[in-house]
C-alpha cells in the first residue's frame, strides 16, 4: 500500500520543477510516512500555488483531506497564473500591442515588494530585455501574504516608474523657502551639508535636534538602526494621525499593539475597519476575509458610512461615531450575562487577581466573585443604552453578541484607524473590541485574533547599536506620558513655544503640510529657519511638504530600492524582500553597479544607501563610533555595500532560510533575490497561542514568583507567569497576563480608565443640532484605489477616482436644500472648505463624510504636486492669522512624454480639508481625533469649488484647549517620563526614561 504524490508543472513540454523545498518532482511515500505526504499536500494547498498541478493518488487518504485549508477545492487548471520560475531569467511572451502578430518579447522576471501601502504584497517586475525597462508588474505567487494577487495599486506601480512628472535629480531651493525656485544640485553637496550639520549636533550634544520624520516606512528596523548608531532620539512618525489610538487600546491589554486576525478560519468576523477596500493590510486580509466568508463565516462591519466592506457584510452596523465602545461593551455584557464567555481562558489569562487585590481587597479573591463584579461593572451597558448611543437596533446588538459567543475561539476581530482614529477616547474602542476576544478566548487561536508580534518576523541585522542616551521631549512631552507614538502633530506648536529647535529635519515619504491637521501651522514652521535650520524631503514624488524644504531628494519607488518587510497579514510569519529590479537585472548581466542610483532613472537614490553614505560622512574617521555600524561585516573596514547588509540578515537571522536555499543550490541572498519572500517554517517560529509556551527551568533561574498574581520576575522585570502551577511565557505586560485592569492607567493619572469603559466622543450625537446645520464630518475614509497622498503619480488610479464630494444622507440634503453636485460650505472650528455634495443612502443621517485622498494642490504651473492629480491654487496668509486657498485652475491636460497626459478627462481634483482641522490630541493616547463637528450650508455667493479658509489664531486656541485636557506626570516620585514597559518605536535606554 503506498501513496504517490506528484507535483507537476502545467507548462506543456516544460521541465518539471519543484517549488516546495524538499519535495522532489515525484515522490513516493510509504505507509510509514503517509503523514508526511499529507503535510506536503497541505503545504502546497496553503501556499495556493496555482501554477502547479497536483496529481495525487489519494486512495489511502481520507477524502476530506482533499479540501485545502482555504476551503478551495483543488482543481486541475488549464492555464497557469505565472511563468514557471526556472524560466524567469528569460521568459518569452508575445507583445500585447502587436498581437495578433506574434512578436516575441523576452523578459527577465524579478520579484520585488509593492510600496503603495504597508501590506508589502509581492510584485514581479517584467524587465524587457530589449529596452532594459520594466514593462509591467504582476503578482508574486511565492509571496505568502499576497499569494500572487494584488489590488489596483500594485500593477499601477508602472505608472509611478514612468511618471513624466517624477523628480529625477536632487533639487535645492534657490530663493526663500516655499518660493518654488528649484535648482538641480549634486548628491555630494546634499550629503556633505547634512553630514556637517548632524555631526555638529552630535558633537555638541544637541542630539535631540536631529529628526527623521517618516510617513510610510516601508521597511522593518533599518532606520531605527541608523538613528541608534547616531545616538539621537529623533525618530518621528505619522502614527498619531493614523493608528496610535488603536495601538494604545491593544497595547494596554497585551503589550503588543496590533491585531492579526485569522480571518480565513473564523466563524464570525467583526471589523471596525474597511479591510475589503483599504486598511492594514488590504489585499492579504481581504483575500482571507472573503475566504472565511465563503466557508460560512458571518461578517459584521461597524462603520457609519457604507464602505465597500460594509456592503459585503452580513451585518452593517452604522454606529454613530464614537459609540462603538458602548456597543462592544454591551456585547461583552451579553456574553457575561448569557454565560457565553470562555470561563477557563478568562480565569487563567485575565489579571483578575490583580484587579481584586487592588480595587476590592477585602472581598473574596475568587474568579467567581470577579465575574459577579464584572456583571455589576457593566450592568449599565444594556442593549438599550448601546442602542441609544449608537442608533443601532437592540436586537441586532444582542444577535451579534450571541453569534460572537457561539463563534468562541474562532472569533476574528479587527479595528485599526476608523473609529479609533476619529474620536476622543477612541482607544477604548480597540480595548473594548479586544475585550470580546478575551471573553471568547480567541486570542491567537485558529480563527481568532493574534497580537501582531506573533505573526510577524523582524530579523536582526548585524551589529545592533545600543539604545540612545537622549530623551527628546519634542516627541514624548511630559503632557503625554502614555502617548503610544510620538506627538508628531504638535511639533509646530512645541517649536513655536520654544520647547526646542531642529538642526536637521528629514521628512520621508511624509506630507504633513497636506496630511496633518492645521497644515498652515506646518507651513509656518517649515518656513521658519530659526525653528528648522535644514530640511530635506526624501520622497519618490512631489508633495505639498517638499515644496517648503531646502532639498528635495528623489527616492526610488517600489521597484527601485531595497527593503525588508514583514507584516501580520495572517496566521504565519514571512519576510518580503523589496529589490531595485533594474539593478538586479543589470548585475545579473554582469554590469557592475556600486549604487542603486546608477541603475535607477536619473539620479534617483535608494534610502538605504543614502543613510550609509551620510553616516560615513558624519563620522569619516570612526571617532564618533558611528562608522562601525556602516562597515561591511564581510570586508572589515570597508564601507557597507547594501547587498551585504541583507546578505548577512538572510544568512544569520532568518530561521530555515539557509536550509531552504541550500536545497535549491542557492545562497540565502540568491534565494531571496529569486523568490522575493520567505515563510518561516512553523516549527521554527510558531504562530498560535504563544502565551501558552511553558518556561523551561533554565528560563526560571534567578526569578521570583509573586504569590498573588503569579507574575514571575527577574530583577524586577516580569518574564513570565505561573498559572495552575505551571510557568508560562504569557504576554509582555507588567502582569504577563491580559490586563483587563490596567494599573498603568491608574498610576499615570487616569484611574477612571483602569478598566475598559466608554468615553463619550468629542463629537457625541448629543452635541449636534442638525436644525442649526450641525453635522459630524468623517474626513478620513479611504478609497480602494488611492494611496493616501501618494497616488498623484499613478494615472490609472486617478482615472478611477479623482474627486471627493461630501457624502450626505437625503434627509440632511433636503434640510440643507442641496442636490447632488451642488456646492456646500463646510465650516469647522477654525475655518471652512467648499466642496460638492454627493447624496447617498450609504451614510447615517446626521453625518457627512469626505474622503481624504483628494484635493491635492500645487502652487506653480510647472512644478510641484503631479499635474495628474493637483489643482493650481493660490495659498497665502492674507490677513493677521488668516490663510486662504483658492483654486485658479482644476486639473488640466498637459503635454508630456506620455500622450495620456494630454487626454486627462477629470477636471475637479477634489477639495482639500485638513487645513481646516485644528489639532485634537487625545489626552491619553496622543492620537489626533479626526472627526469634526461642522456646520454644513449651501455655499455662499462668492464661494468657489476648492476654497479653503483658516484662522490660525483659533487653531492655536483649540490646541491649548486640548492640551489643557492632559494630566502631566512631572511630579512622580519615581521620576519616570513614561511607563518602562510601554513600547516605543525607537526606545532609548531605561536610564533616560527617568527625568534627571
Amino acid at each position: 500500500m503506498s501513496v504517490r504524490a506528484r507535483v507537476d508543472d502545467v507548462w506543456l513540454g516544460g521541465p518539471l520543477w519543484s517549488p516546495i523545498p524538499g519535495l522532489k518532482n515525484e515522490q513516493r511515500f510509504t505507509n510509514n510516512n503517509q503523514l508526511q505526504a499529507l503535510q506536503v499536500i497541505q503545504l502546497i494547498q496553503m501556499r495556493h500555488l496555482r501554477q502547479i498541478n497536483v496529481e495525487i493518488d489519494m486512495t489511502e487518504i481520507p477524502l476530506e483531506q482533499h479540501i485545502a485549508p482555504g476551503g478551495e477545492q483543488m482543481t486541475v487548471r488549464d492555464l497557469a497564473s505565472c511563468p514557471p520560475p526556472e524560466r524567469w531569467h528569460d521568459w518569452v511572451e508575445y507583445d500585447a500591442k502587436a498581437w495578433p502578430r506574434k512578436v516575441e518579447r523576452h523578459y527577465a522576471i524579478i520579484p520585488t515588494i509593492c510600496f503603495n501601502c504597508e501590506a508589502a504584497c509581492g510584485l514581479m517586475a517584467y524587465v524587457d530585455k530589449e529596452t532594459g525597462r520594466v514593462k509591467k508588474f504582476e503578482g508574486n505567487p511565492y509571496h505568502p501574504g499576497s499569494r500572487g494577487r494584488n489590488c489596483a495599486k500594485g500593477p499601477a506601480t508602472i505608472n509611478q516608474v514612468n511618471d513624466p512628472e517624477r523628480i529625477l535629480y536632487p533639487l535645492k531651493r534657490g530663493g526663500k523657502r516655499g518660493e518654488g525656485k528649484w535648482e538641480r544640485t549634486t548628491w555630494d553637496e546634499v550629503l556633505d551639508t547634512f553630514a556637517a550639520k548632524i555631526r555638529a549636533a552630535i558633537v555638541e550634544d544637541r542630539r535631540d535636534e536631529v529628526m527623521y520624520h517618516v510617513g510610510r516606512p516601508g521597511h522593518d528596523g533599518y532606520m531605527e538602526r541608523v538613528l541608534g548608531a547616531w545616538g539621537v532620539d529623533g525618530h518621528n512618525s505619522h502614527t498619531n494621525v493614523c493608528s496610535s489610538s488603536a495601538r494604545f487600546g491593544y497595547q494596554i491589554w497585551c503589550g503588543m499593539d496590533r491585531p492579526s486576525p485569522d480571518h480565513a478560519n473564523a466563524r464570525f468576523i467583526l471589523l471596525i475597519s474597511s479591510h475589503l477596500e483599504t486598511g492594514h493590510y488590504f489585499n492579504p486580509q481581504a483575500q482571507r476575509i472573503i475566504e472565511g466568508k465563503m466557508k460560512g463565516a458571518k461578517l459584521a462591519v461597524m462603520d457609519p458610512r457604507l464602505s465597500n466592506t460594509a456592503s459585503m457584510a452580513d451585518y452593517w452596523l452604522p454606529t454613530w461615531p464614537g459609540s462603538e465602545t458602548a456597543v462592544l461593551l454591551a456585547m461583552a455584557r451579553i456574553l457575561l450575562v448569557e454565560n457565553l464567555y470562555n470561563h477557563d481562558y478568562m480565569r487563567r489569562w485575565v489579571n483578575w487577581q490583580q484587579y481584586l487585590a487592588s480595587e476590592h481587597p477585602i472581598e473574596p479573591q475568587t474568579f467567581n466573585h470577579f465575574i459577579s463584579i464584572l456583571l455589576d461593572l457593566y450592568a449599565g451597558y444594556t442593549p438599550s443604552f448601546a442602542a441609544h448611543e449608537s442608533g443601532l437596533q437592540e436586537k441586532t446588538i444582542i444577535d451579534i453578541a450571541r453569534q460572537i459567543g457561539h463563534a468562541g475561539t474562532a472569533f476574528a476581530a479587527h479595528t485599526w484607524r476608523a473609529a479609533t482614529a476619529g474620536n476622543l477616547g477612541g482607544w477604548q474602542v480597540a480595548r473594548a473590541l479586544w475585550f470580546l476576544s478575551v471573553l471568547t478566548g480567541s486570542i491567537g487561536t485558529i480563527g481568532g485574533t493574534a497580537p501582531n508580534a506573533w505573526n510577524k518576523f523582524v530579523p536582526a541585522p548585524f551589529l545592533k547599536p545600543g539604545p540612545s542616551e537622549v530623551w527628546n521631549e519634542l516627541l514624548y512631552p511630559p503632557e503625554y506620558p502614555l502617548a503610544n507614538y510620538e506627538m508628531s502633530i504638535l511639533l509646530p506648536y512645541f517649536l513655536k513655544e520654544g520647547r526646542g529647535k531642529l538642526a536637521a529635519y528629514f521628512t520621508r515619504v511624509y506630507n504633513p503640510v497636506w496630511t496633518n491637521p492645521d497644515g498652515t501651522a506646518w507651513i509656518e514652521m517649515l518656513t521658519n529657519e530659526q525653528q528648522i535650520e535644514l530640511h530635506a524631503a526624501l520622497t519618490p514624488v512631489w508633495s505639498e511638504t517638499a515644496w517648503y524644504a531646502d532639498y528635495v531628494l528623489p527616492m526610488g519607488v517600489g521597484s527601485e530600492r531595497h527593503d525588508l518587510m514583514s507584516q501580520e497579514t495572517h496566521a504565519a510569519r514571512w519576510i518580503g524582500f523589496r529589490q531595485p529590479v533594474l539593478r538586479v537585472y543589470k548585475e545579473r548581466n554582469g554590469e557592475p553597479i556600486e549604487y542603486t542610483y546608477q541603475a535607477n532613472p536619473g539620479e534617483v537614490w535608494e534610502e538605504d544607501e543614502f543613510w550609509i553614505e551620510l553616516s560615513w560622512r558624519i563620522d569619516p574617521d570612526g571617532s564618533l563610533g558611528i562608522r562601525k555600524y556602516f562597515e561591511s561585516p564581510y570586508r572589515p573596514g570597508h564601507k557597507l555595500a547594501i547587498e551585504e547588509y541583507y546578505r548577512w540578515i538572510f544568512e544569520n537571522s532568518v530561521p530555515g532560510l539557509p536550509e531552504a536555499a541550500a536545497q535549491e543550490q542557492l545562497s540565502p541572498l540568491e534565494y531571496m533575490r529569486t523568490y522575493g519572500s520567505f515563510e518561516i517554517p512553523v516549527d521554527k517560529a510558531p504562530v498560535f497561542t504563544l502565551n501558552e509556551r511553558e518556561l523551561k527551568s533554565k528560563d526560571l533561574e534567578g526569578t521570583r514568583v509573586d504569590k498573588l498574581s503569579g507574575t514571575i520576575k527577574r530583577e524586577g522585570a516580569p518574564v513570565g507567569v505561573t498559572i495552575d502551577g505551571r510557568a508560562y511565557e504569557g504576554f509582555p505586560t507588567p502582569s504577563r497576563k491580559l490586563e483587563f485592569y490596567s494599573s498603568t492607567l491608574k498610576e499615570w493619572g487616569w484611574p477612571e480608565y483602569a478598566i475598559p469603559s466608554y468615553i463619550q466622543s468629542h463629537v457625541h450625537r448629543d452635541t449636534m443640532n442638525h436644525d442649526m446645520g450641525e453635522y459630524l464630518l468623517i474626513p478620513t475614509f479611504r478609497l480602494p484605489t488611492l494611496i493616501h497622498t501618494r497616488s498623484g503619480n499613478a494615472k490609472w488610479l486617478y482615472e478611477i477616482s479623482n474627486a471627493n464630494p461630501v457624502w450626505i444622507h437625503p434627509v440632511d440634503a433636503e434640510r440643507i436644500r442641496v442636490q447632488t453636485g451642488d456646492l456646500i460650505r463646510v465650516t469647522t472650528e477654525i475655518g471652512y472648505f467648499v466642496n460638492r455634495v454627493w447624496i447617498t443612502e450609504g451614510i447615517r443621517p446626521g453625518i457627512v463624510a469626505c474622503s481624504h485622498h483628494l484635493g491635492r494642490w500645487r502652487l506653480e504651473t510647472g512644478q510641484g504636486t503631479d499635474r495628474w492629480a493637483s489643482s493650481l491654487v493660490e495659498l497665502a496668509k492674507v490677513d493677521d492669522g488668516i490663510w486662504r486657498m483658492h483654486q485658479l485652475e482644476g486639473i488640466q491636460p498637459f503635454a508630456s512624454d506620455d500622450p495620456d497626459s494630454s487626454r486627462i478627462f477629470w477636471r475637479e481634483g477634489g477639495v482639500h480639508q485638513n487645513l481646516t482641522f485644528p489639532v485634537h490630541p487625545d489626552p491619553v493616547s496622543g492620537m489626533h481625533c479626526w472627526h469634526q463637528k461642522v456646520t454644513v450650508e449651501l455655499a455662499h455667493q462668492k464661494d468657489a469649488y476648492g476654497d479653503v479658509y483658516v484662522d490660525t489664531k483659533k487653531a492655536h486656541m483649540v490646541y491649548q484647549d486640548w492640551l489643557g485636557m492632559t494630566r502631566p506626570q512631572t511630579l512622580r516620585p519615581d521620576g519616570l517620563r513614561r511607563p518602562l514597559w510601554m513600547i516605543r518605536p525607537y526606545r532609548p535606554a531605561a536610564r533616560v526614561f527617568k527625568r534627571d
Binding site: 506543456l12 477545492q73 486541475v76 487548471r77 488549464d78 492555464l79 497557469a80 497564473s81 511572451e93 508575445y94 500585447a96 500591442k97 498581437w99 495578433p100 502578430r101 506574434k102 509591467k136 508588474f137 504582476e138 503578482g139 494577487r149 494584488n150 489596483a152 500593477p155 508602472i158 475589503l276 477596500e277 481581504a286 483575500q287 472573503i290 465597500n308 466592506t309 456592503s311 452593517w316 452604522p318 478609497l783 480602494p784 490609472w796 488610479l797 478611477i800 464630494p805 437625503p810 442636490q819 447632488t820 453636485g821 451642488d822 456646492l823 460638492r836 447617498t840 443612502e841 450609504g842 482644476g890 495620456d900 487626454r903 486627462i904 478627462f905 477636471r907 455655499a939 468657489a944 469649488y945
Partner: protein, 542 residues
C-alpha cells in the same frame, strides 16, 4: 475543442478595480477607455442599503454580432472561443460598437481603431491566464476551458446558478456571473443621478474636444460648468426616488459612436437614391409614350443624375470621413467581410454610382433609348441604396430601436420624399411643365403622409422591449423632442403637406410653392434622421 470563458463571482468581488488596472498595464490601455471595468450600484434605503459591483467586459459571444458586422474581418472568432481583433485591419467604422450589446468596444484614441478585451489571447497562447484573473485578490474572476470537464470553470457553470448579461440578444455570451445583482447587470434599471459625477470621480469624456463625439447630450446635463469650476446648475432636475437603484460609480461612457455624419449620410443617401428612383418613375410615366420636352429632359436626363450622383458622392464622403481611419477606406473592397452589410452597402453604392454615370452620359448625349433601358437598374439600385441601411442597422444588435421591421419601408418612403422634393426644387428654375410638377407633388404628398404614418407606429405603437420604448419616449418627450415635433413633424411634414394640398387644389401651378415645400420636406427628412440615429443610441448598453 477548447472554449474559453469567464466566470465572474460577484459573491466574492469587492469592487477593488484591480482587474481594470491590471488590464491597463497588460495592454497599455489609454486613459478614458477600458477593456474591463467595474460598475457600482447602490440600492435600498439607509440602513438597509447596499452597494453592488459588476465587472464588465467582452462576452466572447458564440454568435458575436461585432464579428458579423465588422466590414474588414478585423474582429474574428478564434477556434478556442476567444473573440479577438486585428487592429491593422480596422477602418474605425464603429459599427462593432453598435453591434455589441455589452458596450465592450471602444476606439483607441491613438490608433483610431476598435479594441476590447481579447481574453489576453497573447497570454493564453503561452499558457498563462489573462492579467485580470491573475491579479484578482478574491479569485472572483475565473478563466478556463468550458469544454474541459475537469476545469474549475466547467464545474461552476454546470453546478452553480450562473447567469449572463442580456441572454435575450441571442449572442451566446460566455461571461457567466454568479450572484450578480439585477440592477447592476441590466443597464436600464439603475438611474444615473448626475452623469458626470460619481461617488469619487468626475467623468468628462476624453473625446470632448472632438466635435463629433461631443454629441452626447443625451447622457450628460452640462459640461461647461465643471470646466469652469462653477457651481453646478441642473438643467433637468429629476425627482429622487430613494429606493431606486442608483449608479454610484461607472467609467466614462463611450460617446454615441455615430453622430451627425451618420444622420446626414442617411439624408444625403435618401436624396441621391430618391432622385434617381423618382426620376426613373417619372421617366416611365411620361417618356415611354413620346418625346420628352427639353426642359423635362434637362430635369430627368441630366439634372436627376447630377443631383443623384452629387449626393451619392456626398454620402461617400460622409461615410469615409466618419471612419476613424479614412486612410483605410479601401479595405472595404480589399479585405471585405461578406457577412457585413457595410460591405454590401458600399458595393451597392458603387454599382449605383455606375448606373448614375451611365444615366448622366446618356442624358448628356441624348441617348433616350439607353436612358429607358437604364430605368430598371436605376430603380433597383436606387431602392437598394435607400434600403440596405435597414439591414446594416439590423446588424447593430446593441441598438434594439434600429431593429424595427418598419425601417426598410420607412427608408424607401424617405427616399421617395427626398427624391420628389429635390426634383421639385430643380423643377422650379428649369421651368418644367405643370404635369410633371403635379405628379411630383402627388408623389411627395402621398409619401409624406405615409412617412408620418410609419413614424407614428414606430413612436407610439407598442414596443417590443424597454430599450425600444425608452428610445421612442426620448424622441417624443426627451431632449430631442423639439427637433422631432418642431422640425420634423410640423415644419418638415405637416407644413409641406399643407402647401402641397394648396398647390394641388389651386388652379394655377405654383412652382415656387412646390419647391419651397420640397425644401421643407428635405429639412424634415434630415431632422428625422437625426432623431432616429440619436434616439437609437440613447439607451445605455452597460
Amino acid at each position: 475543442m477548447t472554449k474559453y470563458a469567464f466566470v465572474i463571482d460577484q459573491r466574492k468581488c469587492i469592487g477593488c478595480h484591480a482587474c481594470t488596472v491590471a488590464c491597463k498595464a497588460e495592454h497599455d490601455v489609454p486613459i478614458g477607455v477600458y477593456r474591463t471595468w467595474v460598475k457600482y450600484i447602490e440600492k435600498g434605503e439607509f440602513p438597509n442599503s447596499r452597494r453592488y459591483f459588476l465587472v464588465n467586459r467582452c462576452n466572447h459571444c458564440d454568435n458575436a454580432p461585432c464579428v458579423s458586422i465588422c466590414p474588414t474581418k478585423a474582429l474574428y472568432k478564434r477556434e478556442d472561443g476567444i473573440v479577438d481583433f486585428d487592429s491593422s485591419r480596422c477602418i474605425g467604422c464603429k459599427s462593432c460598437m453598435q453591434a455589441c450589446p455589452y458596450d465592450a468596444l471602444y476606439i483607441d484614441p491613438y490608433t483610431h481603431t476598435a479594441a476590447k478585451c481579447n481574453y489576453c489571447a497573447h497570454r493564453t497562447e503561452v499558457g498563462i491566464e489573462p492579467a485580470c484573473v491573475v491579479v484578482c485578490p478574491e479569485r472572483a474572476i475565473i478563466a478556463g476551458d468550458l469544454q474541459n470537464p475537469a476545469s474549475e470553470i466547467a464545474s461552476i457553470v454546470a453546478r452553480e446558478p450562473v447567469r449572463t448579461r442580456k441572454p435575450e440578444q441571442g449572442t451566446g455570451p460566455n461571461v457567466y456571473y454568479l450572484g450578480a445583482e439585477e440592477a447592476a447587470i441590466n443597464p436600464e434599471i439603475a438611474v444615473e443621478e448626475l452623469p458626470h459625477m460619481t461617488m469619487w470621480s468626475t467623468l468628462l469624456h476624453p473625446y470632448q474636444n472632438d466635435a463629433q463625439e461631443l454629441d452626447r447630450s443625451q447622457s450628460l446635463r452640462t459640461l461647461k460648468t465643471i470646466n469652469q469650476l462653477k457651481p453646478y446648475t441642473p438643467l433637468e432636475s429629476q425627482p429622487r426616488v430613494p429606493t431606486e437603484a442608483r449608479i454610484v460609480y461607472d467609467t466614462p461612457k463611450n460617446a454615441a459612436p455615430w453622430g451627425w455624419k451618420v444622420s446626414a449620410y442617411l439624408g444625403t443617401k435618401s436624396i441621391g437614391a430618391g432622385v434617381t428612383v423618382v426620376a426613373a418613375f417619372v421617366l416611365v410615366l411620361y417618356g415611354l409614350n413620346g418625346t420628352l420636352s427639353s426642359a423635362m429632359f434637362n430635369l430627368l436626363g441630366i439634372g436627376a443624375p447630377v443631383i443623384g450622383g452629387l449626393f451619392i458622392a456626398l454620402t461617400l464622403v460622409l461615410l469615409i470621413t466618419d471612419l476613424k481611419r479614412p486612410d483605410r477606406a479601401l479595405f472595404l473592397l480589399l479585405k471585405p467581410n461578406p457577412t457585413s452589410w457595410l460591405v454590401w452597402g458600399s458595393y451597392i453604392i458603387g454599382f449605383f454610382g455606375l448606373v448614375e454615370a451611365a444615366w448622366f452620359i446618356s442624358g448628356l448625349f441624348g441617348l433616350t433609348d439607353v436612358l429607358l433601358w437604364l430605368v430598371i437598374p436605376a430603380m433597383l439600385f436606387g431602392a437598394a441604396v435607400a434600403g440596405y441601411t435597414a439591414f446594416l442597422f439590423g446588424q447593430a444588435e446593441g441598438r434594439d430601436f434600429w431593429q424595427s421591421p418598419l425601417l426598410l419601408p420607412t427608408l424607401l418612403v424617405q427616399a421617395i420624399i427626398a427624391g420628389a422634393s429635390a426634383l421639385e426644387l430643380l423643377a422650379w428654375p428649369l421651368h418644367i411643365g405643370s404635369a410633371v410638377s403635379t405628379s411630383l407633388a402627388i408623389i411627395m404628398l402621398i409619401a409624406i403622409l405615409l412617412h408620418i404614418f410609419l413614424i407614428m407606429i414606430e413612436v407610439f405603437g407598442s414596443h417590443s422591449n424597454s430599450h425600444v420604448a425608452t428610445a421612442a419616449h426620448y424622441m417624443r418627450k426627451g431632449r430631442i423632442k423639439d427637433i422631432f415635433w418642431g422640425l420634423f413633424i410640423a415644419l418638415g411634414s405637416l407644413l409641406p403637406s399643407a402647401m402641397l394640398c394648396i398647390a394641388l387644389i389651386g388652379s394655377e401651378t405654383q412652382p415656387a410653392l412646390l419647391a419651397f415645400a420640397g425644401l421643407l420636406a428635405l429639412i424634415g427628412i434630415f431632422a428625422y434622421e437625426h432623431c432616429f440615429v440619436t434616439a437609437g443610441q440613447i439607451v445605455p448598453l452597460s
